[in-house]
Amino acid sequence: MIGGAVRMVARHSHIFQVVAVLVALMVAVIIPQLGSSFYVSLGLSVLIYGLLAISLDVLGGYTGLISLGHASFLGVGAYGIAYALKIGLDPIRAIGYALVAVIITALIFGLVAVRVRELTFVILTLAMGQIVWGLAFRWVSVSGGDNGLPVTGRPSFGPIDLGTDVAYYYFALAVFVVCVLIMWLLVRSPFGLSLRGIRDNESRMRMLGYNVVVHKYLAFIISGFFAGISGVLFAFYNLYVSPTMIDFAHNGTIVQMVIVGGLGTIWGPLVGAGVIVFFQQFVSISVQRWETVLGIIFILTVLFARGGLWGGLLNLMTWLRRRYGEGPPPSSTVAHGLSELDTSANVAVD
């Protein structure tokens, strides 16, 4: 019986993925019906940080550019909302204002960031992230400094009022699904394939006539834009923005989500976001040094589970397929995670 079931799953591993996503979506839809505001708030955290982590995966996992300043875009989006409301715009206009701010930031930062690669890219994004944090911390007349800014009021679209947490949750879920769908299609498109080509061997792609810099620039802007949307969602969820949410530790936490979940897998970072929100909200109650535990899990992932949780699952599927199924697996189901980037460095050293 069990063997038969395993064989079934193994033969249809792509179907398994679809089923897993559908089940996750159903759970997401049901959560508010459980009647606990705590779960709604938890669900919102996972959606917002999941979106942010997935947007980083487009840049880090698929293009090979790991950013340690990705929370900046969440920050610009969220501060954009808070500031626009402060100067008297209505919530809908504030969204437009925030997204324009995000795009401008991405255009400027991207211009500098695509000139460098690998380690230098990481350092540069880290420094830029710290500068955005520094502005939020110091530019008191705009950002409110250490005290942060309140977010006054949520938007309402015609008859749909997002005032309650449950209504807002469904709104955030819809935005999340649309954004992730776009990113999912993007990494599967020819454009996404060329990004992966750049990740694996930049000089070869250049030789083949691809405009590598433009590809990287676009990937940076797209990734930053979706991260900015997570910032907009964050502002209306938290109703308060402060410099802490974009400090070095938070920038690192987002990288942690992507790595623990699985680099270059799109769904993995969502799993990673779930794990880390779980630690922040549940484990922190009973374990005081939960951050140490999380740090150790992160180190162990880097050392031993380089595809992350989702990558591990995909690789298990592939193994089962080899064992019970027929034919070699489609390459898209093999997750190398970190190894992909480590190898690319060897090629690039040339």
């Binding site: 460098v116 350092i123 070095f248 970190l338």
Partner: protein
């Protein structure tokens, strides 16, 4: 002995202005003072940046635990000075303990993934998380600071300006370290190995030099300097959770501006960053971080490898 000071994150010790009847305008005095602050702060930055840049140049490792090494070294110094009262001992303990930590980190954690840049980077990030959290558990969240002993705790009168001796001391330490590093790297056999390693690792290895030992030595040296800087930084600034990432950013900008792997670059980068940071904080306090960002962007657009960097970015 020591005292715990409750201070804002950026507070430097108040510097009284003495006009002394000379016709130096107050503005000029402020400018001179900010310049001196910038140069002495550059000394602290050099201690961090030099180790960071050597580790990067030789091993291609961006050590994100470098800021945490600074912070924990400072905490160790704080404990030593609280229990023995000796500042010299605190300096040695802060540097020495971090040198040991560096050896463990390099041999134990980084060696197994040697050459895998992303793994090395992420491991140092993980270590900085764990160390930061443990430091918070042990030393709490309140800012701590160390007072330098005797003469160093007082101020000197230079022309019309009184200036704290501790800042001169930090600058002096940095200059000594710079000279020692210059001689070590430029004039000794060990330095020749390091330079050769920066240029062509495989060749050095093939010539029979145990490059891995050189790696460990440089990593330990960098960690020692960071720990030393932590104790000095504890007297100049304060120690608190988050001071690690703040100082790490400064070290990064120093190295980006100066060029990865270049000692000369670390000197120039420290001076540029130290001065711009102080002018920025004094004259445009709200936009202080932009005064760091602008030169970094300009230099990167002009020379992506930094002012003195050999390695193409």
């Amino acid at each position: 002995m020591t005292e715990t000071r409750w201070a804002s994150k950026i507070s430097l010790r108040a510097l009284p202005l003495v006009t002394d009847g000379l016709d130096l305008s107050a503005k000029l005095q402020t400018f001179i003072q900010q310049t001196m602050n910038g140069i002495t702060y550059a000394g602290l930055l050099f201690l961090l940046g030099s180790g960071f840049t050597l580790i990067f140049g030789l091993m291609r490792i961006v050590n994100l635990a470098h800021g945490t090494t600074y912070l924990v070294g400072g905490y160790v110094g704080y404990v030593v000075i609280a229990s023995t009262g000796s500042f010299v001992l605190a300096l040695l303990a802060g540097g020495g303990s971090m040198a040991i930590f560096g050896a463990i980190l390099e041999r134990g954690l980084l060696r197994p993934v040697q050459g895998k840049w992303i793994s090395e980077l992420l491991l140092t990030l993980g270590v900085s998380f764990v160390m930061g959290d443990l430091a918070l558990a042990i030393f709490g969240g309140n800012p701590l600071s160390v007072r330098m002993p005797g003469f160093l705790d007082r101020s000197s009168l230079i022309g019309p300006i009184t200036y704290p001796n501790q800042r001169f001391f930090i600058l002096a330490v940095a200059i000594v370290v710079a000279v020692v590093l210059y001689v070590l790297i430029g004039r000794t056999r060990a330095g020749a190995m390091i330079r050769a390693g920066v240029d062509d690792q495989e060749m050095v290895d093939a010539l029979g030099i145990r490059i891995k030992r050189v790696f460990t030595a440089v990593f330990v040296l960098g960690a020692f300097l960071a720990g030393l800087a932590g104790v000095l930084g504890a007297s100049l600034l304060t120690l608190y959770p988050g001071a690690d990432s703040e100082i790490l950013t400064y070290a990064l900008v120093v190295v980006i501006v100066g060029g990865m792997g270049s000692l000369k670059g670390a000197v120039v980068g420290s001076l540029v960053v130290g001065l711009l940071d102080n002018y920025g904080k004094a004259y445009f306090p709200e936009l202080a971080y932009f005064s760091l960002f602008a030169p970094m962007v300009l230099i990167l657009l002009w020379r992506p490898q930094g002012l003195f960097g050999k390695i193409a970015a």
